[in-house]
Symmetry: C2
Subunit: 121 residues, 2 copies
């Protein structure tokens, strides 16, 4: 394996810095519990940990950890208010993620166009 001739690996790797940045966001969204949290915060404004725990079958600490993952990905933000800690949705990173998907789709469409052109030539 690993032949020294590299047929079609064209400088791949440092090719998509934008995509790279979206990795933690996708990872954070790739969990049912976390997607549910996002959906809740997105529709219901700022909610506390206790409120977000209600209706789930996991503990408050588990919810806390998921919120931390979402916060690390920049998808939510916490606001301390008295003895409560309210969490709210932060849409900017999600927009970036969607633009990443757009980029991939564009690459794909352009590849299809090139293929089509080469067939017609």
């Amino acid at each position: 394996m690993l032949p020294r001739t590299s047929p079609s690996a064209r400088n791949a790797g440092a090719k998509f810095p934008v995509l790279r940045k979206a990795v933690p966001v996708f990872a954070a969204l790739g969990d049912e519990t976390r997607l549910r949290l996002i959906a809740l915060l997105c529709a219901g404004g700022a909610l506390s940990i206790t409120q977000l725990t209600i209706g789930t079958d996991i503990t408050r600490q588990a919810v806390t950890k998921h919120l931390q993952v979402l916060a690390d990905a920049g998808l939510v933000r916490d606001v301390r208010q008295g003895r409560e800690r309210l969490w709210e949705f932060e849409p900017s990173r999600l927009d970036e993620a969607r633009r990443s998907l757009d980029t991939i789709t564009e690459q794909w469409d352009q590849a299809l166009l090139r293929l089509k052109a080469s067939l017609e030539a």
Copy 2:
């Protein structure tokens, strides 16, 4: 914890079946190696496992496993050709994922509008 009164948990859970379907797709995209594979297949057409391994610092078997994850998420498809197994990008699930992000953003925008309306009232 877990007070029996459920303040703002409004029937959450079975509320977003569409989002639920996107979970494995996001999970598959939430890895740098796999995003790189997607980008390669997206730009370069069908490639073999050996070709996809070139330029990486991981083994062929590791690449195989990542391809399997992508295939389970419906993001890639394999086509056997002689002794080679070519992998190609499959755009439909990615489109679904983008629509999921759109749904979340729409929910958010509507929530903002409701908030604005309630403030003006």
